[in-house]
Subunit: 339 residues, 2 copies
Amino acid sequence: MTTIADVARAAGVSVSTVSYALSGRRPISAETRERIQAAIDELGYRPHAGARSLASRQTRVMALAAPLRTDLYVPVIMQFVAAVATAARAHDHDVLLLMNDEGPAGLERVAGGSMVDAFVVMDVATNDPRLPVLRRLREPTVLIGLPGRADGLSCVDLDWEAAGRLAVQHLVDHGHTAVALVGPPPAAYERGTTYAHRFRTGFETAAAETGIRGLAVPCEPSHDGLGASLARVDTEQPGTTGFVVHNEPVVGTLLHALRGSGREVPHDVSVLAVGPHELAEGQAVRLTSIGIPADEIGALAVEMVADLLAGRSPQTTLVAPRLVERDSCAHRSDSSAGV
Amino acid sequence: MTTIADVARAAGVSVSTVSYALSGRRPISAETRERIQAAIDELGYRPHAGARSLASRQTRVMALAAPLRTDLYVPVIMQFVAAVATAARAHDHDVLLLMNDEGPAGLERVAGGSMVDAFVVMDVATNDPRLPVLRRLREPTVLIGLPGRADGLSCVDLDWEAAGRLAVQHLVDHGHTAVALVGPPPAAYERGTTYAHRFRTGFETAAAETGIRGLAVPCEPSHDGLGASLARVDTEQPGTTGFVVHNEPVVGTLLHALRGSGREVPHDVSVLAVGPHELAEGQAVRLTSIGIPADEIGALAVEMVADLLAGRSPQTTLVAPRLVERDSCAHRSDSSAGV
DNA sequence: TTGAAAGCGGTACCAT
DNA sequence: ATGGTACCGCTTTCAA
């Protein structure tokens, strides 16, 4: 293994000069810099991360606490993970992966061992037990999601409430007066994951404000689960012509079920999906959808980590939802709202 | 921050004694051990990972190179990642996440900086450019997958060829004489990902050996993609009564398409899926399926890392496929094979 | 069974 | 602009 001393010797300078050449923390003559760089290239020198972290008290690694749940849509989770990892590299950081099954103890372990400089935490619940721990740690934290109280911690997330409103508004604009939300599984609501609540709140608020009928039903992500939810809608709110699906796994199933019950999309009913655009586009009818900008949010999270590391104060950022029109929402020119 | 010296002082022993008490590398009297443990608990001491890796030349971190492709079924990838992360923790290791977009350079960077003790690499292709690099590195590697030549590296994977044979055999056992494989997208074959080839080889070999008709068609993971593939099957091999789907995203779509063309499952045609059991169970008809034991393979990978770290030689392990019977494969008692 | 001290490979202060 | 060197916190000889 080649060390900084080897490089110094080869370049005919002192170790401190090599160190400063590397960090740029003090002026080095162009000529010296070149000799050093040549030595580094020739020897294939790589600073020892452990030695560096010991001396400098920073690791250039950030921890990413990612969820491991079956009631979450995995492709989106993975997109967040990939976005954070990629953005971290762009900031010359690596990512230490923490699976949430370790809980608060895992965060303490990693922080206590000085393994990371900061935390990015996904899947935060209203009263997440990790929050008090994170506040106490000296390493800064960015939450992907929005807990009940965010004080002292940075947060980034989609503005789910605005997304819920946007969905309803789009259907209202198309003349719908009875809309249903096929939401996440009950478990997602019960767990206190705020995005489920926030979307639903936006949905219900907008329905109330625009004076249309709106019904939100949770949905288990299976063929039968969707069947049950759809039955509830048909029973509790007959005449529903607009569907919002905030439950990726059942998007395709919903389409088939509607068709199976004689309702053509978009001729008889409109469907608006919330989820990845690829999902929306891969269906029998290309679905109008509100995307989840995981790449953007992941990159923002890392940006905010950098801010905190630079000494700036925690902040909360909500990303505005964006709707892409495709082929699943049609105008209802007449006033008939029967099935 | 509390250091080993603080602990030593509090316990009234030397630093080396604390170190040895922690590592267990030399006998410590029960009484001393207790005093040390008490001091550790009281002070909340955590060894500094960087200092430790500097002195001991090992990090207790393993790198996990995970793919970032859109043509892979993400839930399964994630299951591998979770399995490796969990197993790593069970071996007192952490996981540094590498997204494959960095390629061989990322591996060299991380190894050169002494950030990890070993590598677990997913999504290996026949002539993966990372292989020569990994062979050269001093850190041992375990591949999840099977490259063209595995010499010098450990490998774990599902025995995909056996899986392909198992699928055909199951359909043959149920009296089918014309079976089709709806496989992964062309990109998966072209990339040289061996699992696609191996499954297909097993499928075709078994079909040939049992003397039945067998047709393998790749399939783009979308509604239209499935439509195209199904059309090929109907044209090139009319009378097909057994379908093997090795393409998770289109499983549901295939079911609907068959139904749409007047073929009931399992009455008219049998369908056998390859993929997670939850996927198979969430369909309109509960599908007989061959699972992908990601948890088992991930755990094995970590086990093999531990073996290599302990000085044992590289080895290759192929996990036998397991088939779970559900409701999508029926016996064809007569000899009619018409659509 | 325990202690003292020499590294491990960097960083950054103090000099020049 | 550059060099010398005292740490950073831990592991592991060497000694007792």
